[in-house]
Structure formats: structure tokens, C-alpha cells
Amino acid sequence: MKRILAIAALAAFVAGCSSTPDEQAPAPVEDAKSGAGGPSTGPVTSQPIPVTPIGGDPNKDPRLTDPKNVLSKRSVYFDFDSDAIKAEFVPVVEAHGAFLRQNPRAKMLIQGNADERGSREYNIGLGQRRADALKKRLVLLGAQESQIESVSLGEEKPVCTDQTEECFAKCRRDDMLYGGQF
């Protein structure tokens, strides 16, 4: 019931914002509940600044699971032996960074993973390194340190088991989970 009200409120809000003049750059929002801001035409992002419907649980924001929304993209993939965030994932990371910044009550768990080659405990360390790298980037983008916990699953939860480069690449990733998923 609450969710329906939240969606209705959001729909009404967005409808009301559609004629708002464009802004030059995304304005920082101090209070998520103020509902300020509209579609941003800042030079970098092409996504609207995420805003929580008033009174809703940000962890259950429907945009987080809407396949048409970048926020439903929760995985960042890494190159072999690397924890560097690749350019192709920057928009996803920035969207989640903005969401966390806008929604201080949102909580995230980052699970880092490694491919299956080598020692299990060392792979816990590699997954941790990747999770920490993503958390650091999100904090730089304005998330609070206390909103995000970064952990490692090492090689223990593989999404595939073929011993091929293609499978290894799928395993070298961070997954972002929001509150309620953990």
C-alpha cells in the first residue's frame, strides 16, 4: 500500500516537474525529502538525479529494479588481476553514487568476487580489493561511508563453472545489493 502511494506521489511529482526549466549542472540536494531538482542536463550524466518519493523506503525504490533504469544495473566487471573501475561502468557507478548521496537512508552491500584460479583465501582478498575500490568511488561521489559495507565472496559463489576465459571474466565483478537483499 505504501509502495503504491509512493509511486503515485512520484508520478505526480515527475508530471509536475516536466516543465521545469533546464539546469546548468546538477545542484547538490541536502535533504532527500525536500524533493528538489528535476531532470539534469549537466554535461556528464544523461540520467535524471534520483529522488526518493516522500515517505518511502529508499531501499525499495522501484527504480532499483526497473530494467529500464540504470540503477537496476548492479554489477561492475574487472580485468584480470585488476581492481580498476573501467570507463564503461562509470555511468552505472555514478548513478548509484548519486542515489546513495540523495538517499542517506539507503544501505548498500558490495560483494566482490574473483575467478576461481588459485587459493580460496587469497581470492577472498582479491574480491575484497574490488569491493573496496567500488566503495571508495561511491564515497567520492557523495555516498556516506556508513551507508556502504564492502565484503568479499572470493571464488565461492561463481555464476559459471567452465574453466574458460569468458567464465573467468564474468566472475571478476562487484555486485551492489540494497537493503532488503541482505
Binding site: 588459485g118 583465501e121 587469497y122 577472498i124 575484497q128 568479499s152 545489493l177 537483499q181 541482505f182
Partner: protein, 443 residues
């Protein structure tokens, strides 16, 4: 892309059906074994390699052993053969017991260096007396024997004790036939931490979970196992009491908690925590209190292992750019590098005498178990798989248990510490991994 399942999962812990009493090696065996056989998948064992010098030994059927549902001489023979240091000779039916006059010259001509004879006799209250004698056939003399009073359920454990006696008399080393091994079984999405006899018999499940379990590590007194569980969607270290099935989360800090390793006095645990950033080693009391940071680096420092004298901790670190093995004093301080060859050396394990370091080495993309003599720094590769990992020494230092893959399936294997004798232990339709050889039972 699939999202992880929602909600917490509570795995099932099990109370072991037998109390972990000490076995008193005398005329009265006190071990109480599980009689209820849980429907566990049995570890099957096959020997795949032959050793160098093997003592030819004849184990004659024990007179009257058919009275026990579990025969004794078969188990004794199996133990001795699996150690790789004995070649068991076919004896055929015999009419010998521990007090027979034995024609040792005749056994010599059958190429036996040693002979075991024994008997099983009914005693009061449904019990049996088991007596045996060991002969040195070459020197034509008795090496002694032992008598036990047992219940039928204690037959298998008694056979292991007899095999230990024989092994020790003839090799000078302590036998490990009465020890247990822990390992993780993965069957579909179900994970179990199991403990079985060293020969794979009597598997007991300590914990069942829908999320992974890794890094089991035995407390030195054999009553508890520390391990890592992912049931909370992140790694948490538990200490599990085998007899009661009770467990305590001893390291459940923000971030990841993993790689538990007991100190030799059983009072401390080394662990790897990410609560202060990265993966760094900490030492704490066995109940999780008094957490002290041990390493301070920007690297991954992990896989701590105490040396047998408790003074040093060996560990894996990539502080030099690639994972290598290092050593630090338990009290902290300077770090010394131990491995220098190759670009990937991990998972340090010390032999019980502290003289040999077993570890995992990557050679041309293949991961194998190697052993380094710490005095000479000479290294020998012991295994020849592609994905060998998790080496674990037997308490007598003579065998190394490890995990490997055969036909895409996880199995355990054991190698003698000189690499010559190999065994494979597997569970049908499941992956076995993460072995840990338990300590010698205290006498």
C-alpha cells in the same frame, strides 16, 4: 543477471553422536563410537601410486574375529597399505593367535619382514577381549602386543589403534590411523562440513548450509573447528564445538572475516579482517575477544599459519607485487620473505616438526602442492594436478592431504611427504574440498 536471494539463511548445526573421550591405550578401550550411521555419502579411497621402501608385512586373520561384525585384520591391513610404507602380503586362512608358537623361519621364506597375529575372545557383558602380537620376522623376535576389552562397536577404532602400534614399532614414527579429517562437501547448492575417520569411514556432519563453507581449521585439542561461513551473505568466522554442535561467531566485524588459524596452545586465533580496510591479519582470543592487529600493509595479507612453536606466523602476502609466503613474529615486527621462486606461492602449512613448509605453487598456469625444507630451502613439487590446493599435514608429518579436481569434480588426495604414494578420496556425485587433518588423539 540474477540478484542474490533475499533474506537471511540459518544453517543447520548437528550434535555429534559420540562424545570425544580420550582413548586410553591399555587393557580397556574407552572410546564410544557412533552406532547410528547417518545416511552420509561415504568417502571412497583408492591408492594410485606406489612408494619406495616398503616393509613387507603379513597380517594373519585374527582368530575368532568373525564374532565381531567389523573384522579387524582387514582394517589393519588397509591402514598399513594406505600409509604407503608397507606392502601387505597375502596370508590365506591361518590358525594362529597371539599366543601361538609361530614358525618365523617359514614366514621369512614367504618374504615377510613382519607378522601380526591375534585373537578375539568373548568376555563378560557382551564385550570381547582383543589380543595381538607383532613379530619382527627378520630378527626372529616378538616386538610385543597389547590386549583390549571392547564392545563390538569399538572394533574399528581398536583395529586403528593396533595399526598405530605396528606402524610405530616398525617405522619409529607415530601412526595417524586413529585421527580424523574434516572437509567440505558441496552437493548442488548444499554445503556440509563433515568429519570422518582418516580412512574416510564414519562421516559425521557438523553443519549443513545453503551457502558456502570454507577454511576449516582444527583446534589443537580436537574438540573444536573454526571455519568461514557465508550464510550472512559475507564471510564470518565461527568456532564450532563438535560434541555439542554449539557454535560461536568469533569474528563478525564489518566487512569480511576469514582465514582462521589456531595457535598451538589453543588460546588464540589468527584471522584476516577487512574492518580496517584491505585484508589484514589480526590475532584474537579463541572466544573472539581482545582483537589485535598484526600486519600493517596496503597489500593482501592472508592465510596465517602459526609455526609449531607458536612464535611465528607464516602467511601469504602480495606486498611485493605478487603473492608470496612471508613470516612474522607472533608479537609483530619485521616481516621476512620465505618464497622467492616463481610468481605465485600461497597457502603456507608447517609440518608438525616445524622443519618443512608445504604450500601451493603456480607453475605454467598449473597449481600444485610443493614442500620446502626450511633449513636448506630446497623445494620439491609433490603433486601433478592442475588445480591442487589446501594442503594439510597429517599429525605425524608423513602425509599431506589436499584438494584437487578429477574429471571436473572436486576430490581429496593424499601424498606421502616425499611425493611417492598417492591416494584419492571422493564422494559420489558431489564435490569435496577444503580438507583439514585433525590432531593426534591425546593419550
Amino acid at each position: 543477471m540474477s540478484l542474490p536471494r533475499v533474506g537471511r539463511y540459518n544453517p543447520t548445526t548437528h550434535k555429534f553422536p559420540y562424545a570425544l573421550n580420550r582413548i586410553r591405550r591399555a587393557f580397556l578401550a574407552c572410546l564410544i563410537l557412533a552406532t547410528a550411521g547417518a545416511a552420509q555419502a561415504q568417502l571412497t579411497i583408492e591408492i594410485t601410486g606406489g612408494g619406495g621402501t616398503q616393509i613387507p608385512i603379513a597380517v594373519a586373520p585374527f582368530q575368532g574375529e568373525a564374532q565381531l561384525k567389523q573384522g579387524l585384520s582387514d582394517v589393519i591391513e588397509g591402514d598399513l597399505a594406505r600409509s604407503g610404507r608397507f606392502r601387505t602380503l597375502y596370508t590365506g586362512p591361518q590358525n594362529l593367535n597371539e599366543s601361538s608358537t609361530v614358525d618365523l623361519a617359514a614366514w621369512r621364506s614367504r618374504n615377510a619382514d613382519a607378522l601380526v597375529v591375534g585373537g578375539v575372545y568373548p568376555a563378560a557383558g557382551g564385550r570381547y577381549e582383543v589380543r595381538f602380537r607383532l613379530f619382527d620376522v627378520l630378527k626372529q623376535q616378538s616386538l610385543g602386543g597389547v590386549a583390549y576389552t571392547i564392545t563390538p562397536q569399538q572394533a574399528r577404532a581398536t583395529a586403528h589403534r593396533i595399526a598405530d602400534f605396528i606402524y610405530e614399532k616398525l617405522t619409529g614414527d607415530k601412526g595417524v590411523f586413529s585421527t580424523r579429517i574434516a572437509y567440505v562437501v558441496k552437493s548442488g547448492q548444499r554445503f556440509q562440513l563433515q568429519v570422518a575417520d582418516a580412512d574416510g569411514a564414519n562421516p559425521q556432519t557438523a553443519i549443513t548450509s545453503n551457502e558456502p563453507i570454507m577454511s576449516p581449521n582444527w583446534a589443537p585439542d580436537g574438540t573444536r573447528i573454526a571455519y568461514v561461513s557465508f550464510e550472512a551473505r559475507k564471510p564470518v568466522v565461527y568456532v564450532h564445538n563438535l560434541a555439542t554442535g554449539q557454535r560461536q561467531a568469533v569474528a563478525n566485524f564489518r566487512g569480511s572475516n576469514s582465514a582462521p588459524a589456531w595457535s598451538p596452545d589453543g588460546r588464540s586465533l589468527a584471522v584476516v579482517l577487512s574492518r580496517e580496510g584491505g585484508s589484514q591479519m589480526f590475532v584474537m582470543n579463541a572466544d573472539g575477544s581482545n582483537v589485535r592487529r598484526l600486519t600493517t600493509s596496503a597489500a593482501i595479507d592472508t592465510e596465517p599459519q602459526f609455526s609449531p612453536d607458536g612464535r611465528s606466523i607464516y602467511f601469504t602476502s602480495d606486498r611485493g607485487g605478487a603473492p608470496q609466503i612471508y613470516r612474522i613474529a607472533t608479537t609483530g615486527g619485521d616481516v621476512q620473505r620465505v618464497t622467492f621462486d616463481g610468481g605465485y606461492n600461497v597457502t603456507p602449512r608447517l609440518s608438525p616438526d616445524g622443519k618443512t613448509l608445504a604450500f601451493v605453487q603456480r607453475n605454467a598456469g598449473r597449481f600444485q602442492v610443493a614442500a620446502m625444507d626450511l633449513a636448506s630451502r630446497q623445494t620439491q613439487v609433490l603433486t601433478d594436478g592442475n588445480r591442487d590446493e589446501s594442503p594439510s599435514f597429517a599429525p605425524n608429518g608423513k602425509m599431506i592431504l589436499y584438494a584437487t579436481e578429477v574429471g571436473g569434480r572436486g576430490v581429496l588426495a593424499a601424498t606421502s611427504s616425499d611425493g611417492r604414494v598417492k591416494q584419492r578420496l571422493s564422494v559420489p556425485a558431489a564435490d569435496v574440498r577444503e580438507p583439514a587433518w585433525g590432531p593426534a588423539p591425546a593419550n
